[in-house]
Symmetry: C2
Amino acid sequence: MDTDLDSALRDAGLRATAGRVAVLEALESMAHTDAERVYRAVSEVLPTTSIQSVHNILADLTTAGLIRRIEPAGSAALYERRIGDNHHHVVCTSCGAIGDVDCVVGEAPCLTPSNTGGFTVQTAEVTFWGLCPRCQDAAL
Amino acid sequence: MDTDLDSALRDAGLRATAGRVAVLEALESMAHTDAERVYRAVSEVLPTTSIQSVHNILADLTTAGLIRRIEPAGSAALYERRIGDNHHHVVCTSCGAIGDVDCVVGEAPCLTPSNTGGFTVQTAEVTFWGLCPRCQDAAL
DNA sequence: ATACTTCTTTTGAATCACTAAAAAGAACGT
DNA sequence: ACGTTCTTTTTAGTGATTCAAAAGAAGTAT
């Protein structure tokens, strides 16, 4: 059942170990998760693991391009399985909840800064800040 | 000569202390500076200060809206004096150098995500990743 | 001016997230 | 199955930042 994850790992040049599969599974079921939450999820399947191992695995998977790491200001690094599409994020300024933003209207302009001061731009990363539905309700 | 900084502080409801003025001056002369560098600059004028005090002051000034704090992935928090205009940043993926991007071509679209999943969007923060002039040369 | 209250800084300690390194253990190719 | 190589475990350690209590300034009222 995890054969697809196994082969995804192997295709990336990594060995298909229980820990890595468990981390990938955890990230398939939860989006935008920090190392601590991944660790708790993995622990239930693999009680011998440690937070350091999870950090290690997350770093490896990120380097291999199997997961994506984001670091919104004010929170620990978050990891997500959704990769390959250049999507962005909305962060709730009140509770820190995170949502995906499929794409930005007028996509191209966002990748085109006006004056880069000589920098060569490769990618653009957009973070939207606002209120999640729950905190909007709470603010009423 | 620092009367303008003094009044800026007072206008923000803060007392105009030597430490705060020194931090503001440091940030006027250096853009995108981390707490450590601010501390070194302030130390020359105010040898009795500590890195904790600088953190404290930076936090106060940020809350008061006198400086802006940015946290690019992979580096410590950076502070800048340039506020009020919603400008963005280019970060060099090789050396971490940072540049300002005055505005994005097609400005409005970047503030308009397509589907926010119910989030109310207040601001958009764009970080461009690329190579600074120096690292482009080094790559040749 | 003086005393009083409040705001700031200092000092020292603690936390959080993450990285480093060496030793033990598991995968994979032969 | 064997041995090499890759991974994980374990134990420490780091950097950046925060916390909290005590000491010190600034403003305020008398």
